[in-house]
């Protein structure tokens, strides 16, 4: 079983603001029984568009209950425009952190808020119209493609596992994993142009000396790449930088797996192009072993 923080437990056992607000100005509803979680969020706004009161009804795991409770607490007293800027991360942080596997619960809270906000402002949500027609990629939890695409874009997701954590897609029978992988690659390929979401390490990257560039690259690897690899028992070493060619070598678990090579190259290249120089190419100099599995017993 997962371990939850004290604050999550508190909001789960004693959820705040439970129930229907009969005088709600606007209601946001997301999820379904088949998705395994659902939330109905009620907001009462005053004349200055400040959220006076919030209420909710939720079906889902302890994380879903705690995240919904936390969100209503965060919303109260905020102007509706300010409230609309609350992110998944904000909710998770308010709760002292949620296990990564449970991020989809914060995502649900945020979606309910978005639906409520859009409804209040009279904005039509992209996904709302399509959802009826759209086929679910993950049939176990009824997750449509648009939701997966958005989760990847908004949270900068880089693996199928992360998609499962944020959307639940792929967490059941796992038969949609190949589809998820494809969607991930496609959306990530579109990412840098559509969404320059992170601040570049150095604004004048084009004018960097080779030494400065190497330092900037090392910096990105240290912050963005190596911590993730370390969690899987791997590591990446910066071997050399020649012009826009970045030579790296994989260590630990990563170098025994040939399939990791192309994924890694793609991911690292994407990061470096976004943050250091759009012309960068990554070259993997690791000698990969072809042996994926230990020989069978006997």
């Amino acid at each position: 079983m997962l371990t939850y923080s004290q604050k999550v437990k508190d909001h789960f056992i004693n959820p705040r603001n439970v129930g229907v607000l009969a005088d709600a100005t606007v209601v946001g509803e997301v999820g379904s029984m088949s998705a395994g979680q659902a939330l109905k969020l009620y907001l009462k706004l005053n004349a200055d568009e400040v959220i006076d009161n919030a209420g909710f009804q939720v079906f889902g795991s302890p994380g879903a209950i705690a995240a919904s409770s936390a969100l209503t607490e965060m919303l109260k007293g905020k102007h509706v425009d300010e409230a609309a800027r609350i992110t998944i991360k904000d909710i998770s942080e308010y709760l002292g952190g949620l296990p990564e596997e449970k991020m989809h619960t914060c995502a649900m809270s945020m979606e309910a808020l978005e639906v409520a906000y859009a409804r209040y402002r009279g904005i039509e949500l992209e996904v709302e119209g399509d959802e009826e027609e759209e086929l679910n990629i993950c049939r176990c939890f009824s997750v449509p493609e648009s939701k997966i695409e958005r989760a990847i874009r908004d949270n900068n997701l880089t693996s199928v596992e992360e998609i499962t954590h944020f959307t639940k897609a792929g967490g059941g029978c796992t038969s949609c994993h190949p589809d998820l992988k494809q969607i991930l690659q496609r959306v990530r390929a579109e990412l840098p142009e559509n969404k320059p979401k992170r601040e570049p390490v150095n604004a004048g990257a084009g004018n960097l000396s080779n030494l400065e560039k190497m330092k900037a690259i090392q910096d990105v690897l240290d912050r963005e790449v190596r911590p993730g690899l370390a969690m899987d028992g791997g590591d990446m070493e910066l071997v050399d930088v020649v012009g826009n060619k970045v030579y790296v070598q994989l260590h630990g678990h990563c170098n025994s797996c040939a399939s990791s090579s192309s994924t890694m190259k793609f991911f690292v290249e994407d990061r470096l192009r976004e943050m250091v120089d759009p012309e960068i190419t990554v070259i993997d100099t690791t000698e990969h072993s072809d042996q994926l599995h230990a020989p069978p017993m006997r």
């Binding site: 499962t164 792929g170 017993m297």
Partner: protein, 409 residues
């Protein structure tokens, strides 16, 4: 009733019998010798192990020489599978079921990588295998049929007798994971002659964790998984876990003496709990067959709520249970057993397993019914689906499936 937590998770482990603990205590003191030693201290330890062997053999109605003590069911299941395949090296097909414990199914799936053909028998809505499917799948190439006696999540009992006969007709070896059956059902290996290997684990019937036993039929092929000593007649090397073995022997002895009484008690408490919850909570369904079922287990789907939320809220009320869908190793994994039974996912979400033991008191059951129905009510009050007028928000097809499932209760 004491103020200890109410433990309704007795298929995961059980309270160590006071008699078993008492039998073990001298081993922490003067009786610490190595059972392999020749001196009289060692021989006293040897005697304690052989006494335990007699008690465990009596539990299974087999010979003491057919018992191999080991570290528990995972080792027992691994050993039996490798031993069978080693015994029939020309045969390259294994049959098991979709609802086995991971210590069987993962070993067999691993063997698929080594070139074995694998058949996983399906189960019906009630969790039962179909012997006709077994007949259709088995052939002269089948080395091993491995089927659990009773399921750990639902308690559903398999037709071991019939399956064993089919295995024998084709000359296949037959392994039975009887971890949940031991102590709750009559296990008679003189009667169930088709069984070549059978696995049990001490802590599932009021012994201690870390010791189990593998029954290996006289003349059945055998291959030690762990080598390096003459222990257990060369069948399992390593200094014996004498603490666990002695505790298991004492626990087996208690069952040999009073099994019918224990079974009756468990059945009474389980039925009281199930009936109490049906009376106090609307919209619940019992997962799995209720006739061919372990006397201590009931798996209940609660409509409109999430099993993990129910589990955690019960935990805060000092009631220990397990959910049908557990969060393991990073991803949501709805119970493979309930999935194999085609329980709608919407019902798996709210499924929880309750298992009593012979130590469960009636007052505990009554307190549990009170607290569980209170928590279910509370979670339904939280839920947007907990009210009749909100039910139409469900997808129509899912709603129909869902309604049909819960209508059974």
């Amino acid at each position: 009733m004491t103020d200890r937590p109410i433990f309704l998770d007795n298929n995961s482990t059980t309270f160590p019998a006071p008699e078993a603990v008492e039998a073990v205590l001298p081993l922490f003191g003067e009786d610490y010798a190595n059972p392999s030693s020749t001196h009289s201290m060692g021989q006293a330890a040897r005697h304690a192990i052989e006494l335990a062997r007699e008690n465990v053999a009596a539990l299974l109605n087999c010979k003491g020489s057919e018992i191999v003590f080991n570290s528990g069911a995972t080792e027992g299941n691994n050993t039996a599978i490798y031993a069978a395949l080693d015994g029939l090296p020309e045969r390259k097909h294994i049959i098991t079921t979709r609802v086995e414990h991971s210590s069987v199914i993962e070993v067999i799936r691993y063997l698929a990588e080594a070139g074995y053909r694998i058949t996983e028998l399906s189960v019906d809505r009630l969790g039962q295998i179909d012997l006709d499917e077994l007949k259709n799948e088995i052939s002269g190439d089948t080395a091993l049929v491995s089927i659990m006696w009773a399921n750990n999540e639902t308690g559903v009992i398999n037709p071991i007798n019939g399956a064993g006969d089919i295995a024998k007709q084709f000359g296949a070896l037959f392994h039975v994971d009887a971890v949940q059956a031991a102590g709750k059902l009559k296990l008679d290996l003189k009667d169930e002659l088709a069984i070549d290997y059978l696995t049990i684990s001490g802590h599932k019937f009021h012994g201690l964790k870390g010791a189990g036993a593998l029954f290996v039929r006289e003349n059945a092929p055998y291959l030690p998984l762990i080598r390096g000593g003459h222990h257990e007649s060369g069948k399992r090397a390593g200094t014996e876990n004498i603490l666990g073995i002695v505790a298991m022997g004492a626990a087996a002895r208690l069952i040999n003496k009073d099994r019918d009484q224990h079974v009756e008690h468990m059945k009474k408490q389980r039925d009281r709990l199930q009936a109490g919850l049906i009376a106090r909570c609307d919209d619940i369904a019992i997962n799995g067959d209720q006739a061919d079922r372990l006397p201590n287990t009931t798996n209940i789907g609660f409509k409109y709520i999430d099993g993990e939320a129910l589990l955690m809220m019960l935990d805060a009320e000092d009631i220990a249970v397990s959910a049908g869908s557990a969060c393991q190793s990073g991803s949501m994994e709805p119970s493979h057993v309930l999935k194999a039974m085609n329980v709608p996912l919407s019902a798996i979400h709210g499924s929880v397993r309750f298992c009593v033991s012979r130590y469960t008191e009636e007052a505990e059951i009554d307190a549990a019914i009170e607290k569980i129905s209170k928590v279910v009510k509370r979670l339904r009050e939280l839920s947007p689906y907990g009210h009749e007028d909100k039910r139409e928000t469900l997808d129509a097809a899912i709603l129909a499936e869902h309604k049909a499932y819960f209508a059974k209760a």
